[in-house]
Structure formats: structure tokens, C-alpha cells
């Protein structure tokens, strides 16, 4: 973990507010694991004040690092309009990351919206180790315009299973429905295969994924998003209700958690209770 200055080398707009920032000077991020993140801040005065957590999308030799973001608020809007050459400060790599891909497992990478980057990086990592056929990308968004970098995914050797809420591309509906279908498929086709789930996306999606994984007893990893100030476990701002302890910290214990260690709220409409 280092605190350093980087420069934007390229800012590639993907439409619908999505953009990929390519950063130079990120030698310190070289060994990062998929799922790790950084705290990033532009040179933009005191508004906004705090750095923003951003997942890594990809790290490459010679200090290049990519991230994917969507302009939703003040910080991401400033990044969206940042020009090549702009200086940003970075603290990273932070957090734990996803488990390694293995020969023995099939990893279902479940990506929701702008939560996709860590799963992309996990797939890239698998590809580098010749294990791309041990993972499957299940990627959902509101519309076709929320599904980005599909060519790059195919370039890795993935055939992403897509879902959109409006049906404009892929399966119509939520990514969790697609996940259920894929689980059923694998359970039927290769019942002995050890499935794992790795997911990142909106909170409700993560809870839904956990609720799907549980009855199947599938090992399920969730990368969570919390409000963060420090990114390194000192402000105690990013507390997550957990089972092994009252709280765990998204930045230093996570952002990737075993779903079984988190307190998963009951599905909307269901009454709480039972669970410890």
C-alpha cells in the first residue's frame, strides 16, 4: 500500500456516463489482486472533500492502471471531465480481493452495473493463468447501454451471459435471475463441479445473490460498497454488520466478504427473524 501521485493518460468515454480512466505512474499497484481498490482524489480543492474508493479494472506493466467509473455524483463527474495529464492522488492497493481461480472450481462472476470492474479483473487474472474456462461472467444492467467493455471481455475469452431489465440485450430481467438459470444449468450438466460465486454490484443485488447461493451451499463472495473516508481501517466509518463479530470493515476486512460472514437482510417482503 502506497500513497502516490498518478496522471491520467487516457479518458475513454463509453456512453451513458461510463468511462475508463487509464492512469500512469501506478507502479505501486502492479501486484494488486482482483477485488482490491484504491482511494482516489483529483486536485479539485475541497469540494468534494474526501477521496473516492475505486476498484481496479486492470493493471498492466510499466505502471499503467485502468478503472471504470460512472458519473453519478460530484466526484465521478469531475473525473469524467478530467483531461489527460491531470494529476490524481492514489492510496492503494487496498482491501483483500477475491480468491484465486483454480482448476477445481467454476467461478460465476456476477456483475451488476458499475460493480463490474473487480470481476473483469478477476477474469483477466484467470486468463493470464490459463484458467479463463474456469470462470463465467454474468453481467446485468438496466439497459444495453449499461453493459460496457463487452468486446474486451470477449477478448479475454469470456462469453458473458448478459441480462438487462428492459430486455434491450441478453436476457430480460435481473442479473440474479440469470444467475439462477446458470446454477441450474451447471447443477444439471456437471453436478460434481464445485461452483463459487463472486459478485459485485448494488447492495440489493448482492443480498439477492447471497440468498440464492445459500440454499445451494455455494461458496459466495460479495464485494461490498460502503461510504468510506480513510480506506485503511482507521476511521471505522465503513462498518458492515457481520456474524463473526458485530462489525467488519469494508475497507480493511473487505471489500470482499464471504456472504456467510455478513448479516444478510431478509428479502423484501419477507419477515426478519430466525437468523442469528
Amino acid at each position: 500500500m502506497r500513497y502516490f501521485d498518478a496522471r491520467i493518460i487516457e479518458n475513454r468515454a463509453l456512453g451513458n456516463g461510463y468511462f475508463v480512466l487509464r492512469l500512469g505512474g501506478c507502479e505501486s499497484l502492479a501486484g494488486s489482486r482482483p477485488g482490491q481498490f484504491m482511494m482516489l482524489r483529483g486536485d479539485w480543492g475541497r469540494d468534494p472533500l474526501l477521496p473516492r474508493p475505486m476498484s481496479l479494472l486492470s493493471v498492466a506493466p510499466e505502471g499503467r492502471a485502468d478503472l471504470l467509473a460512472r458519473a453519478v455524483g460530484q466526484g465521478t463527474r469531475l473525473l469524467e471531465s478530467a483531461l489527460p495529464g491531470t494529476r490524481v492522488s492514489i492510496l492503494g492497493p487496498l482491501g483483500n480481493g477475491f480468491p484465486e481461480p483454480t482448476q477445481a472450481t467454476l467461478d460465476l462472476l456476477v456483475a451488476g452495473g458499475v460493480g463490474m470492474p473487480p470481476l473483469f479483473m478477476q477474469a483477466e487474472h484467470a486468463a493470464h493463468r490459463g484458467l479463463i474456462d474456469r470462470c463465467e461472467m454474468i453481467y446485468g444492467g438496466r439497459t444495453a447501454r449499461d453493459l460496457v467493455l463487452l468486446a474486451e471481455m470477449r477478448g479475454l475469452g469470456l462469453a458473458p451471459c448478459l441480462a438487462t431489465e428492459d430486455g434491450s440485450v441478453g436476457r430480460r430481467g435481473r442479473v440474479t435471475a440469470a444467475l439462477e438459470a446458470r446454477i441450474e444449468h451447471h447443477r444439471a450438466a456437471t453436478p460434481d463441479r464445485r461452483l463459487r460465486i463472486m459478485a459485485c454490484g448494488p447492495r440489493e443485488m448482492l443480498w439477492a445473490v447471497a440468498r440464492i447461493a445459500e440454499p445451494h451451499a455455494i461458496e459466495c463472495y460479495l464485494s461490498v460498497e460502503e461510504q468510506m473516508a480513510c480506506g485503511i481501517g482507521v476511521c471505522l466509518g465503513c462498518a458492515m454488520p457481520a456474524r463473526s463479530r458485530p462489525f467488519r470493515y469494508a475497507c480493511s476486512d473487505g471489500p470482499v466478504f464471504l456472504a456467510s460472514d455478513l448479516v444478510i437482510p431478509p428479502a423484501p417482503g419477507q419477515v426478519a427473524g430466525g437468523a442469528p
Binding site: 500500500m1 502506497r2 500513497y3 482524489r41 475541497r46 469540494d47 468534494p48 472533500l49 474526501l50 477521496p51 492522488s89 492510496l91 460502503e226 461510504q227 468510506m228 473516508a229 480513510c230 480506506g231 485503511i232 481501517g233 482507521v234 476511521c235 471505522l236 466509518g237 465503513c238 462498518a239 458492515m240 454488520p241 463479530r245 458485530p246 462489525f247
Partner: protein
């Protein structure tokens, strides 16, 4: 990559930043604030801790505490709100897990502490004061007094005075008291500390605030209320430091609130603080406290200040 600890500035023939404050000799006046610097170790790879005048730990209570439900923080204009809820490892956890590292960190260590009852304060302060490696204690009196309907201990000068006296009686080490700004008269609070034997006052803790998400119609913090920190509060902090200084109570002041740079720190010195603490800025730039030291030194050099003490309270009015 840990750089060698900075030499005390005077070693280079530069300005002397060494200062005594609240019974402790600091090699420079820049400390880090409680709750924003963990237990020190978390920052060890990011800056040489020995370059700091000192550090103040997360607030310690007799027993471990788990803190408030999430969300606990949110950003506001030039500031942030937090409702961490005084989560900490507890006295024994601190002594066993955190203190060994702090003994070797090369800077002064102040331990921030609190209780939820009068007795807890006294017990916690007494025990911490006996630990080797603790250079001083900072009492956080912004804690709700459970027996008095949840009113903070530090709001009523009389209650505050009694609490300070009781702790003073059992603590031989330097005892600082961190004042709450949620008051109509900060001088009364400082006087209660001075008259009851405190060695210094730390000014200020966070200002009570609240934020709302208009779309969900919910408070942004699970506990509804939280404490405001960051540059937004600097004018209030400076005012309170100067009010206390001007009152001539003879108690040293450690200035806290929105400090981002050496110039900010100098403003607090001019207002009457003899040391400062960097808080929220540690989140924005984890190496900033070391930079603040350098910038204070640069300011002194550029302005012909050979000894920091020349500017403490040096506001020209």
C-alpha cells in the same frame, strides 16, 4: 520505503519547532487527532511517525465497544459527519495489542479516553496513566452521561470540573481535556478544566450536525446525529481557541479543527494554540501531518521566526 525520521528542525540551523505543551515536551507542535489516525501503526508505512510531534490514539474505554450501526459517515460541504460511536478495543486490548508498537514509534503518544459513567472515566484514566509508553492522556468529555439523561459530560462546567478533578487526583501523567464546541461559552468550560488541574485543553471536538437524503427521506447516518469535522469548522475552532487564549487562564491549548496545511496550523498558533492536531485531513491525504510539520517550518523560515514560541498567541489585534 519508510524514510528516516526527520531531525528536529533546529538541528539544521533552521527554526526551532520544539515546544512544551500541557506538561509534555514535543519536538514539533503537530500531532494527529484521535479517531483519525487509528493506533498509529496503520500509518507507519505512509509517513515516518517520528516526524510528528505526537499522536493521539482512538478513544479508549474500560471495555471494548462496538460502536454504532452503519452508515456511520457522510460527506458534507468541506466537511464530514461521523457517528462512529466511540468504537474501540478497550483498555486491556489497547495495552496488549496496540501499546507495544506505540512504545517504539518514536513520537509522543497521548491516549484519548472516555467512560459512560463518572467511575468509568476515573478507572480508565487511572489505569492508562500507569501504562509505560503513554506520554499523556486526553480526556474526551463529549460522551453522553448515561446517568444524566445522556447529556454530554463536557457541556456543564460544574460536572466537567468535577470530572477533571476526580481524574486529576488519580492521574500523575499529563492530563489534557478535549472540549466540546456545542456550548454557549467555551471559556467557562476551559476555566473548569484549568481550575481543576488539567494540564491543557484540546479545542475542539466535532460540532453536532446531521444530514438527510432527500430521496430516501432518511438521515444519512444511522444514528441521525453525528459530529461535523473538516475545513468547514475551522473558523469556529479558531474562534474558540482565541477566546480561551484571550481569557488568560494560563492553560495551554492544543488547536484542532479543519487543519489541512502548515498555514492553517500557524493560524491556530497565532490564535494562542501551542500545539495542533490534524484530523479529517489524514483521510484526504494520509501523509499530510508530516507535510504540515514541513510547512510550519517553511513558514517560520520565510517569516524570520527562529522559535515557534514567538508566534504562539501572536495575533495582532
Amino acid at each position: 520505503m519508510t524514510p528516516a525520521p526527520a531531525m528536529p528542525a533546529s538541528g539544521n540551523g533552521g527554526p526551532s519547532l520544539a515546544i512544551r505543551c500541557g506538561g509534555i515536551d514535543f519536538h514539533n507542535p503537530v500531532l494527529t487527532a484521535s479517531g483519525t489516525f487509528g493506533y498509529g501503526k496503520e500509518f507507519a508505512g505512509l509517513l515516518p511517525l517520528a516526524s510528528l510531534g505526537g499522536l493521539v490514539t482512538k478513544g479508549i474505554s474500560p471495555n471494548p465497544r462496538f460502536g454504532n450501526p452503519a452508515p456511520r459517515i457522510c460527506e458534507t460541504a468541506a466537511g464530514m459527519l461521523n457517528s462512529i460511536g466511540l468504537e474501540n478495543v478497550g483498555l486491556e486490548g489497547f495495552a496488549a495489542e496496540k501499546l507495544p508498537f506505540l512504545r517504539t514509534c518514536g513520537t509522543k503518544v497521548l491516549v484519548n479516553f472516555f467512560g459512560t459513567t463518572f467511575d468509568e472515566y476515573v478507572e480508565c484514566g487511572q489505569r492508562l496513566g500507569q501504562l509505560e509508553g503513554v506520554d499523556g492522556l486526553e480526556m474526551n468529555v463529549s460522551c453522553p452521561n448515561i446517568k444524566a439523561g445522556g447529556i454530554e459530560f463536557g457541556r456543564d462546567p460544574r460536572v466537567l470540573g468535577e470530572l477533571v478533578r476526580a481524574c486529576r487526583n488519580v492521574i500523575a501523567k499529563p492530563l489534557w481535556v478535549k472540549l466540546t464546541p456545542n456550548t454557549s461559552d467555551i471559556v467557562l468550560l476551559a476555566r473548569a478544566c484549568a481550575e481543576n488541574g488539567a494540564d491543557a485543553v484540546s479545542v475542539i471536538n466535532t460540532i453536532g450536525g446531521m444530514a438527510i437524503d432527500a430521496h430516501t427521506r432518511r438521515p444519512r447516518l444511522a444514528t441521525v446525529f453525528g459530529g461535523l469535522s473538516g475545513p468547514a469548522i475551522k473558523p469556529v475552532a479558531l474562534r474558540m481557541v482565541y477566546q480561551i487564549h484571550r481569557a488568560g487562564l494560563g492553560i495551554p491549548i492544543c488547536g484542532i479543527g479543519g487543519i489541512q496545511s502548515g498555514i492553517d496550523a500557524v493560524e491556530f498558533f497565532l490564535a494562542g494554540a501551542s500545539t495542533v492536531q490534524v484530523g479529517t485531513q489524514n483521510f484526504i491525504d494520509p501523509a499530510s501531518s508530516e507535510r504540515v510539520v514541513r510547512e510550519v517550518e517553511d513558514f517560520c523560515r520565510a517569516n524570520g521566526v527562529t522559535d515557534l514560541r514567538e508566534i504562539v498567541g501572536g495575533l495582532v489585534v
